[in-house]
């Protein structure tokens, strides 16, 4: 399956890109996807992903790590928000 990962703020800067289009085996959980992104993105990105307050949204809905990722999903890595 193909999944688009969107990265924001410090995650985006650590990864060096705002989006990653990944070809991944299905089925895959959000947690496994995060580990995959972490492995590809380097130590700094891994720290942001593991930091408290980092959340994940699939198709703009917040999800838990056991949520299944599907072909065509947009998965967003949201570091702890600053707020408005």
């Amino acid at each position: 399956m193909t999944v688009r990962v969107r990265l924001f703020a410090s995650a985006r800067e650590c990864a060096g890109c705002a989006t990653m289009d990944l070809a991944l085996p299905a089925p895959m959980s959000v947690g496994a996807l995060i580990r995959e992104v972490s492995a590809r993105g380097g130590a700094e990105l891994a720290k942001v992903l593991a930091a408290p307050g980092t959340r994940v949204a699939v198709n703009q809905e917040l999800v838990e790590v056991d949520h299944p990722v599907r072909d065509g999903d947009e998965v967003a890595i949201l570091p702890r928000v600053t707020g408005g």
Partner: protein, 156 residues
């Protein structure tokens, strides 16, 4: 309740937004409260060279709409409008405008404060501050979290 959220880079004109809100609502609103957030210019330390606000188009607007809906459930409001800027901002630039209209001023004042307190913690924005060559993403403050939490104690 009339509810409107805009997230954009362009600056806003408070008078124009206020007039547009008054146009949109009926004559039952006797009170309209406006809050404007501005990038502070701090003289106690190096000035903020630049504040960069990042958002997630679509999800950020919905996170603000959810806050406005909560305000609408808690108070009897005619209208709530939020304009939030993103992108590169300098000291003294306007950041956010919250307009609340209701029959009476008590609800308008309280709801406006509620919306701002929740915007500070729950709205999906990230801020990056550049100050004298140091660049860092701003972490949420404990003070803002505690202030938001007081609304859960039925302060309003």
């Amino acid at each position: 309740m009339h509810r409107d959220v805009r997230v954009e880079e362009a600056d806003f004109d408070v008078s124009r937004e206020l007039a547009a809100l008054r146009q949109a609502i009926g004559g039952s609103a006797g009170a309209i409260v406006a809050f404007c957030g501005v990038v502070r210019e701090r003289h106690d330390m190096a000035e903020v060279d630049e504040l960069f606000l990042e958002h997630y188009p679509g999800m950020t607007e919905r996170s603000i709409e959810a806050i406005l809906d909560r305000a609408g459930e808690r108070w009897n409001l005619d209208a709530v409008r939020v304009l939030h800027r993103v992108g590169r901002l300098a000291a003294r630039d306007q950041i956010v405008l919250v307009l609340v209209a209701s029959a009476h001023r008590t609800e308008a004042f309280e709801a406006c404060e509620f919306v701002m307190d929740y915007l500070k913690t729950d709205a999906i924005f990230w801020k990056r501050e550049s100050r004298a060559g140091d660049v860092h993403w701003i972490a949420p403050t404990g003070a803002d979290q505690r202030r938001r939490d007081t609304w859960r104690e039925e302060r309003g």
